[in-house]
């Protein structure tokens, strides 16, 4: 392409430029001729007119403007053309035409074809054979043919939604040419080089007389390379070929029907070839994303297909205990939360009552329900939960003290569990804490490296069965299963045999925990084909395929089924073009770009022969005519405005605009005024509700509370007993509780009271299941119930062992999810929370006080004055009839005698009540207090 890159199509018309001086003269003469008027009172006019200076000729710049306009029109008519095309083919051998028809060429395919057709026409005029090859085609037929044949093949070629295959193309050309040295080798390129693919060097190695690289910088291809569904939005990665300068590109998310429902923005920094964007949308909307497309680019690379695997799951979380968030590290949900938050949307119940929380959670249609350490569910919950699992839900359970204590016939565990847990390590155990074994091949965790640093100190054990091995996803080094599973209907139950916090093992604080949970959650999908993670390989038929323009079509003509082998990421080839594989019910997306691929420009250095670069055909020869005419038209408009202005056309406009401005001001003032008048009318809504007064009264002071059993005598003793304890507390401690409150557990709000005293009476009506569920929720939310069977003395005489009150207590507790119990150990904080006590007597002194068992007993620390324990026992059981010992009449005299009649015992009964109250209100504070001497010593005091 030598010579002037600028040519006039009609150079003869340039002669009209000679006329410019004449136009100049005419413009100087003619412009605004005044209206001649005879005017007798000229002298009067002259007095007022002196101020204005009126030029008799048009100003020089106006003349210049018009001259420029005339010159532009003349130049435009003579039709200048940039870069005219010339025939410069080398005549030594055949023309080798290599045309990139990969995805990046789809945008300007017409121009590429035009360029190639121009070269073929040149070859035809010089009578050269043409060898034409398309790099993205399935087969590369590069045999030299006539120009006509090459033209036909060029017209039939289409851009493919695939990457180009340069090595195969070059090999085909070399085979087709044999010994012939090509004349001109023209490479119509999209500028992208595959990995390890020095195509220019290969072409130069053919030994052409003339090597041309055409259009390598015509396109600026940008491709989407990855997308992942994060907590806040869909994170998308894009890569571009040309890295110079900053670039901003929009990305749009489309749903299955092609509607745009989300947008993001890529900002490429200068020199960077990769950028990331986030498509922010609500979780429900994000699950509707079917396809991502770069705004304004219609090719296969700028389109990213999403399949079911990208959908975020909704995960519901349930926990057996509700630790306050002041101690998050002790809460099992904390670790699950942290592990799953980036991959799933988590929902938590709004109320602690499981009977209501579970249906409320299922109402939100979660894919996964995670239950951490829940031993027993309310009876009525099992049905809905079971049907939810049957319909495809995934239940993930974690072990814990409650589960370990739960009865064995729980239907919602995948294997039969032995009651209790197995502790590994410690003073009384031979076994060492166990690491994990390699993951079995049928497990979804297969492929993950075996974590060497995980030690399991405590676990629940499965009963050995025949199919235990195939239900095991992970096991310890000694073969005991750690993660077991069972398929239930379309759903699945998964059990982690350790707790979800770090007390039983250090699994929850390891990276494997995150990956295991993620994979497990990933399995939970709505009945798709990929639901079974255990199959080794499967074959998916093509369902919808992407064409070169980035559009999904149903044409699956040449495509073959996609073979998915475990651990192998499928690649888009001409056999498996990018698209969706599978069926309407479930499909996998095969994308053009491999995950996090980066576009590489052609390597142009170190070539054996020189080469020329040329732009594409359509781009180079462009006419300056439209630009010139536009400029002339703009000047004409400008000239018209100037003439109008000089003629005084805008003076009247200004005069008439004034009333409008005044009207607008009046309107604005009126609107503002109205706003000021209206604004004070907006008040605060009255949000008070009936019963607020009573609630506030209960919140002001702490009240002791007892359960109204319905038996007058029992309730009277309870009321008087708590009154006596209240007075004792007021005298002896800084705690001054209000009057005791009797609560009806079936309907009263329980959360105001730190402890509820429940005198169990066999003759009273049995509380309803709903009431028991409320008690369960109260205990779960941090409250404590003190059950008093008052049967210590009667139990002594009964032959069967259990008094009616105790049997009633067992009936009540049967529906409660209670932890394992133990009598108060001597080092428990209850013995030290106010008075130093060794026993907790009431009217009777024989019965122990049962509280929640502390599983993580530190056997090696026996010399400690108190056990460190977290939280407060949600349940206390005694048979000593404490209220009976506390009960006083109005004069302050005891109502009932102690057995034996010993006022010392009554004093200790009061002290027990004080200790229990202090334990309720301060928790393990006293246990920490015992460390004060050591702490002060460390501080050097």
């Amino acid at each position: 392409m030598s010579g002037l890159p600028f040519l006039f199509t009609n150079p003869a018309l340039l002669a009209a430029l000679v006329a410019l001086p004449a136009i100049w003269w005419l413009l100087r003469m003619t412009p605004p001729r005044p209206q001649a008027e005879v005017f007798p009172p000229l002298r009067i006019l002259a007095r007022v007119l002196k101020r204005e200076e009126t030029p008799s000729k048009s100003p020089w710049w106006l003349t210049l403007l018009r001259m420029l306009m005339a010159a532009l029109v003349i130049l435009a008519i003579s039709d200048p053309v940039m870069n005219p095309r010339l025939n410069t083919l080398a005549t030594g051998g055949p023309l080798v035409l290599v045309v990139d028809n990969g995805w990046a060429s789809a945008e300007d395919w017409e121009r590429r074809v035009e360029t190639a057709a121009g070269l073929i026409a040149d070859a035809a005029s010089r009578d050269l054979p043409v060898s034409i090859a398309f790099t993205a085609d399935r087969d590369h037929n590069a045999a030299p043919t006539s120009a006509d044949e090459a033209d036909r093949r060029l017209a039939a070629a289409r851009p493919q939604p695939l990457a180009t295959d340069h090595p195969a193309t070059v090999a085909a050309i070399r085979a087709a040419l044999g010994d012939t040295r090509p004349g001109t080798v023209a490479f119509v390129s999209d500028g992208i080089e595959g990995a390890g693919d020095p195509v220019m060097a290969d072409l130069a190695a053919l030994g052409p007389a003339d090597l041309r690289l055409i259009g390598a910088d015509a396109a600026r291809p940008v491709a989407l390379s990855a997308a992942s569904n994060d907590a806040n939005g869909l994170a998308v990665t894009a890569t571009r070929l040309v890295t110079t300068g900053p670039e901003s590109l929009g990305v749009t998310a489309y749903d299955a029907r092609g509607r745009a429902i989300g947008e993001g923005q890529f900002d490429f920094a200068p020199g960077e070839s990769v950028a990331r964007a986030t498509v922010t949308a609500p979780f429900e909307l994000r699950n509707d994303f079917a396809r991502l497309g770069l705004t304004g680019l219609a090719n296969a690379g700028a389109t990213y297909l999403l399949d079911d695997g990208f959908r975020r799951r909704r995960v519901a979380l349930l926990s057996g205990e509700a630790r306050d968030m002041a101690q998050p590290l002790l809460s099992p949900l904390y670790y699950i939360n942290r592990a799953l938050a980036p991959y799933a949307d988590l929902v938590a119940p709004e109320e602690p009552d499981l009977a209501k929380a579970v249906p409320a959670l299922l109402e939100q249609k979660p894919s996964v329900l995670i239950m951490a350490d829940i031993g027993r569910l309310p009876e009525e919950v099992y049905g809905p939960l079971q049907s939810w699992i049957d319909n495809g839900g995934t239940l993930i359970r974690f072990a814990g003290p409650r589960l370990a204590a739960a009865p064995a016939e729980d239907p919602l565990v995948p294997v039969i569990l032995r009651q209790g847990e197995r502790a590994l390590g410690g003073a009384l155990s031979w076994a060492e804490p166990q690491p994990l074994a390699d993951y079995p091949a049928n497990s979804p965790f297969a492929g993950m490296p075996r974590p060497a640093d995980i030690l399991v100190k405590r676990q629940v054990l499965a009963q050995p069965t025949a199919d235990l091995a195939e239900r095991t996803w992970a096991s310890l080094a000694d073969g005991t299963p750690l993660v077991t599973t069972r398929v239930e209907g379309q759903g699945r139950i998964v059990l982690f045999h350790v707790s979800a916090e770090a007390t039983w093992s250090n699994l929850p604080i390891s990276g494997s925990f995150v990956e295991m949970l993620r994979r497990t959650v990933q399995l939970a999908r709505g009945g798709g084909v990929a639901a079974s993670g255990a199959e080794a390989a499967r074959t998916l038929p093509p369902y919808r395929l992407l064409n070169a323009d980035g559009v999904l079509t149903g044409e699956t003509g040449g495509a073959r089924p996609l073979e998915i082998a475990a651990g192998v990421t499928p690649k888009a080839t001409s056999d498996n073009p990018p698209g969706l594989y599978g069926s309407e019910d479930g499909f996998s997306a095969l994308n053009l770009m491999e995950r996090d691929a980066v576009l590489q420009p052609l390597a142009l250095t170190g070539l054996p022969t020189a080469y020329q670069t040329a732009p594409l055909a359509g781009a180079e020869t462009w006419s300056l005519k439209p630009a010139l005419l536009t400029a002339a038209m703009l000047l004409l408009i400008l000239d018209g405005l100037v003439v109008l202005f000089m003629g005084g056309a805008f003076a009247r406009l200004r005069a008439s605009a004034r009333p409008a401005a005044r009207a607008a001001t009046i309107l604005a003032v009126a609107v503002l005024g109205t706003g000021l008048v209206v604004a004070p009318g907006i008040g605060h809504a009255d949000d008070s509700k009936p019963g607020d007064d009573a609630i506030l009264q209960h919140l002001d002071t702490t009240h002791l509370a007892y359960v109204v059993t319905g038996e007058a005598e029992v309730d009277r003793i309870s009321q008087r007993g708590l009154e006596g304890l209240t007075q004792f507390l007021t005298y002896r401690t800084t705690l001054e509780p209000g009057a005791p409150v009797g609560v009806d557990i079936s309907k009263d709000e329980l959360s105001f009271y730190p402890i509820i005293y429940w005198p169990v009476s066999a003759s009273a009506p049995m509380p309803s299941a709903q009431s028991v569920s409320r008690i369960d929720a109260y205990m779960r939310a941090g409250g404590t119930v003190l059950f008093d069977t008052r049967d210590q003395i009667s139990a002594l005489g009964s032959a069967s062992g259990d008094s009616p009150n105790t049997q009633r207590l067992q009936a009540i507790l049967a529906n409660l999810d209670i932890p394992p119990l133990e009598p108060v150990p001597t080092d428990h904080v209850l013995t030290k929370s106010f008075y130093l006590l060794t026993s907790f007597p009431g009217r009777y002194s024989g019965s122990p006080l049962w509280i929640e068992s502390q599983l993580d007993r530190q056997d090696g620390a026996a010399d400690r004055p108190a056990r460190s324990a977290d939280g407060v026992s949600p349940i206390m059981i005694t048979g000593n009839d404490m209220a009976g010992a506390w009960a006083i009449d109005d004069a302050g005299n005891p109502l009932l005698p102690t057995v034996p009649a010993d006022e010392n015992q009554r004093e200790y009964a009061y002290r027990s009540g004080v200790n229990i109250m202090m334990y309720m209100l301060t928790g393990n504070y006293k246990a920490d207090q015992v460390h004060i001497p050591a702490l002060l010593e460390r501080l050097g005091q």
Binding site: Q35, A36, E37, V38, F39, L49, M646
Partner: protein, 306 residues
């Protein structure tokens, strides 16, 4: 765009005369009020409402000793014992000088006016001549016609104008004697100071003047816009306004200010001033001048204010 104003041909006297007579027919006779007794012996046609030389009976009065006996009216005296003298009404003519400015600027006629200023001025002058001649007043035109008292004074004035068109500018008034009335019709576009310099001596000589200012509507409302080149018809001077509409307001103020100043100065002399536009009826000006000439009792008291 056709120009708004133009210079038209001089109107022929005959045509003007005809129009003047039509106008004059609508106006009643005008007896010029004589504030001072003119020492003229020329008999007029209309009585002066006072005793004097005349032909018509005025009053009988008792004879006083020393009067000529020939004046005794014996027929009356025979009725009783007294002798009476018959007085006659003084019947004398007043001299009115009419003058119209026929300078080139008066030839101006715009599309807004119906006739040129010159045409209107001549019509007014000849109509006045007709009316006053009907009343027996003596009509003159300085530099054109000596005062005559004739029934056909208007025709004679028209003929005189045909032969001797008046010069531009205010007339030479050397031949005017005594208390006479002067009616000046013109456009008075000169500076009012210059005009007053000419008129003040006339006032001192006892003349009573009536000034009729003829204006074309275009001169008053200034309907020009855009780039306009103005030419003075008298001096040929040119003036170009780039955007004529922006000076319109100022011009109107200056034009009316000049008129106000002129009117005030004239009224100060005791003269009357009547502005008149050519798009109005000639009769309006005619009636106004008629009232001033005949003393217009109601108006004279107010200095001729309309």
């Amino acid at each position: 765009m056709a120009s708004i104003g133009q210079i038209v041909e001089r109107t022929s006297s005959g045509e003007v005369l005809a129009r003047a007579q039509i106008r004059a027919r609508l106006i009643p006779d005008c007896l010029v009020e004589a504030r001072r007794v003119a020492n003229t012996v020329i008999a007029g046609w209309h009585g002066r409402r006072k005793r004097g030389i005349g032909e018509n009976f005025w009053q009988f009065r008792p004879y006083s000793v020393g009067e000529s006996l020939s004046r005794i009216d014996w027929r009356r005296s025979a009725r009783d014992d007294h002798t009476y003298v018959r007085d006659r009404e003084w019947e004398a003519a007043h001299t009115i000088w009419l003058w119209a400015d026929l300078s080139p600027s008066m030839m101006f006629k715009s599309t807004l006016g119906t006739v040129s200023k010159e045409s209107r001025a001549l019509v007014l002058m000849l109509a006045l001549a007709e009316i006053l001649a009907r009343s027996g007043e003596r009509i003159g035109c300085p530099g054109v016609m000596e005062p005559v008292s004739a029934r056909n004074a208007a025709e004679r004035l028209a003929a005189a104008l045909t032969h001797r068109p008046p010069n531009a500018g205010l007339p030479d008034t050397g031949m005017i004697r005594g208390a006479s009335d002067l009616v000046l019709i013109g456009d008075f576009l000169d500076p009012s100071d210059a005009i007053m310099t000419r008129l003040t001596p006339l006032s001192r000589r006892g003349m009573r003047g009536h000034v009729v200012e003829i204006a074309d509507p275009a001169e008053e409302v200034f309907p020009y816009a855009g780039r306009t080149e103005f030419t003075d018809p008298e001096t040929g001077e040119k003036l170009t306004a780039g955007r004529a509409e922006i000076v319109a307001e100022d011009y109107r103020r200056a034009y009316l200010g000049r008129r106000e100043a002129l009117g005030a100065s004239l009224r100060h002399l005791g003269w009357s001033f009547t502005p008149h536009r050519t798009d109005h009826l000639a009769s309006e000006a005619l009636v106004a001048v008629h009232m001033y000439l005949s003393g217009a009792p109601g108006r004279a008291n107010h200095g001729g204010q309309l």
